[in-house]
Amino acid sequence: MKSKHLAGIITGVSLGISVTVMAIGCVSAASDDKYSRSKIDQIGKLLQQSYLREIDDKKVENNIYAGYVSGLEDPITSYLNEEQLKAQQVLQEGKYIGTGLQFEWGLNGRYIIITDIVQSSPSARQNIKIGDKITEIDGIKVMLSNETELYEKLSYTGDEEVAYTFENNDETNKREIKLTAEVINIKSMAHKIIQNNIGYITLFSIKKGASKELEEQIQALKASGAQSFIVDTRNVYSNNIEEIYQMSQLFINEKTVFKVKNKKDEVKEYKTAKAIYDEPTVVLINDRTKGALEAFAAAMKSAKRGKVIGVTSAGIGRINEIIPLEDKTGLMVSTGIIYTANDISLKDAGVKPDIEVKSSIEGVIELITTGRLNEKNDLQLMEAIKQLS
């Protein structure tokens, strides 16, 4: 029995060694053309010898993957480390991890100004209002030279608290407020009546159920006397093609609204049935209208259902998917290209508005010095109202 065991062990070991060596060989053979090990060694040594600060070896090595994927030069396709993957997955559910502060860089990068505070968020529970300024975060002065560190603090999703130094818009009442990130619900949209009979809907995010919510808001506006609508899609990024299709269905009657082509060149055509609303409607877009959402404006335009007003959208009309890897990291990958009903690709070119209206510099300055934009200075909105009056 012992000798049988031994014979078995010897056979097993030989088999084990050969199979493993072959497997390792396969891995390195297949990787041979991806990069030069000697070059990475050379760079690594140089950094160790001369780079001024401490080097986190793990972070450097992990960034290889981010660099590799960024070589695709695709604006959306990227590597997601563990923290980023988690954050993306939370976003898919229509939530995000943060403090609830919406902000813009201030004049000359001297401060960060609060432009909105998300309801029921950590910052909503503090003495913070729109127009307040942040001058320091965790001891880091708000200056453009600290942009990277500041952005890291502002987008931090971990559970340590971050100390913000706030002051009022007029630079009084300097105070320190500690905030910890939480999972927050993203507001989908807001609605109101303007000029007595125009229903104005502002979109903030498009999560599952957004089209239903849009329908409810339109009903509410109609009940309040709305006879026409403005759908504001400015500054919104959305990947949710199915909801956007349902949104188009609300307005566009029996037309092809857009098409999606995948890697295999297979085309899926999105066609609407009978529309629900036929009131005059205009759509607002700007260069921050991004992703599948650009298809909505394109659809309204190609179906001649309503004028599109603003400036050309971002030009990132793709479908993206999150693909997890084995080790809790993942990739965000562009898996489909969106085409308009007229077969124009939205992959790299944005939707051109029917009426081009640029935002005024005065409007931008107003936003970054007060945190708000007065509707009268919102030239794109003013044009939309003009079109419907």
Partner: protein
């Protein structure tokens, strides 16, 4: 039973050896996991990504990502092409036609803002305010702004065709220009009045010291009693050039010291020859790096007052190291300290007199001197110094 003994032994042997081999391989070959993960990523891209893979770009991406992993925006990997472009930029010399351009927002065209004296453009009669309609056969709009230098620059002695539109005459002109080495003027100067000179340095390149020396000699010749030195929007440049310029303005004192990773300190001193003309320096939030070295030295030694806004706050120095295959690594290698021993990284240098440009004027370029509130304050301060 005999058979099961064999197979059990085989199974144990197989497992044990595989585990030992794998872990020792991974231990010795740190790239094993990296390679394995890159394969997994490549597989996902092949299966899902709806675009094309450029393997060269992806390889470059690996080096870029690796270097960017230290988390410093000033530490980057340059491809050979990027390195060549970087060298050209720091030299201050390139082969082109000798014009400065901007986008005319009013009609989305390329507008010439400056024609360098003696340049190919100057010689054929191209004027400032001409619009470039076509270059190297391509019709251009403001959207092509990034592309235009690539079309116009080229090897010394080669030709390029350019079509311009002159608004004042409502006429188009076609030109065939021969590219020459053009020195980018990083220093401009003028007399503001009989007593006051104005010198603006826009960047610190290889040719900047010579240009500065020329300007300084000229204003001394014109018997200037005071100088306004404008460093606004100057993003920095070469440290050794900055030290040479500082040397012209300071007596035998410390200009700047640097300290590297190993604690090695390097000090740069001015010699005892310098101009004694009173100076006031104008700075803003975009005065960075070498501009801060110069203004910091002048401020700390009470050689000049600073007017304007707190400077950018770049207090670190980079070195560029070429790699064996033509690519290069730019990395932060040292901190620098002003003469009073302060490292201004993330802090900036505060001006002695705080003046911001009025909000309304921020939207307009090309301010007139009398609208430039920072310049006007500097003039007021230097006049006081002269008394």
């Amino acid at each position: 039973m005999k058979k099961s003994g064999f197979f059990r032994g085989a199974a144990i042997g197989f497992l044990l050896s595989a585990i030992v081999l794998l872990t020792s391989t991974a231990f010795v070959d740190k790239y094993y996991y990296v390679d394995k993960k890159l394969l997994a990523i490549e597989s996902v891209i092949n299966n899902y990504f709806v675009g094309d893979m450029d393997r060269t770009k992806m390889q470059e991406g690996i080096y870029k990502g690796f270097v960017a992993g230290v988390g410093d925006i000033y530490t980057n990997y340059y491809t050979s092409e990027e390195y060549a472009s970087f060298k050209e930029k720091s030299s201050g010399v390139y082969a082109g036609i000798g014009v400065q351009m901007t986008i005319d927002q009013a009609d989305n065209t390329i507008l010439i803002t400056e024609v360098f004296k003696g340049s190919p453009a100057d010689k054929v009669g191209i004027l400032s305010k001409d619009k470039i309609i076509k270059a190297a056969g391509k019709t251009l709009t403001g959207d092509d702004f990034e592309l235009v230098p690539k079309l116009i620059k080229g090897a010394q002695g080669t030709k390029v065709s350019v079509t311009i539109f002159r608004q004042s005459e409502n006429k188009m002109y076609d030109f065939e220009l021969t590219r020459q080495n053009v020195t980018y003027p990083s220093v401009v100067y003028k007399m503001l009045d009989e007593q006051l000179a104005y010198i603006k340095i826009s960047q610190f390149e290889e040719t900047t010291y010579d240009q500065f020396k020329k300007a300084l000699t000229e204003v001394e010749h014109k018997k200037a009693k005071g100088i306004v030195l404008d460093l606004r929007n100057n993003p920095g440049g070469l440290l050794h050039i900055t030290e040479k310029i500082a040397d012209e303005l300071l007596p035998k004192v410390l200009i700047v010291s640097t300290r590297d990773k190993n604690g090695t300190v390097d000090e740069a001193y001015a010699d005892d020859k310098y101009t004694k003309i009173p100076i006031v320096v104008v700075v803003n939030g975009d005065s960075a790096s070498a501009s801060e070295v110069l203004s910091g030295a002048l401020k700390d030694h009470n050689r000049a007052k600073l007017v304007g806004e707190t400077t950018f706050g770049k207090g670190v120095v980079q070195s560029v190291v070429p790699l064996s295959d033509g690519s290069a690594l730019k990395l932060t290698t040292a901190k620098y300290f002003t003469p009073s021993g302060v490292c201004i990284q993330g802090i900036g240098i505060d001006p002695d007199y705080k003046v911001s440009l009025p909000k309304e004027l921020l939207t307009r370029g090309n301010l007139q001197d009398n609208e430039d509130t920072q310049l006007q304050k500097a003039i007021e301060v230097v006049r006081q110094e002269i008394k």
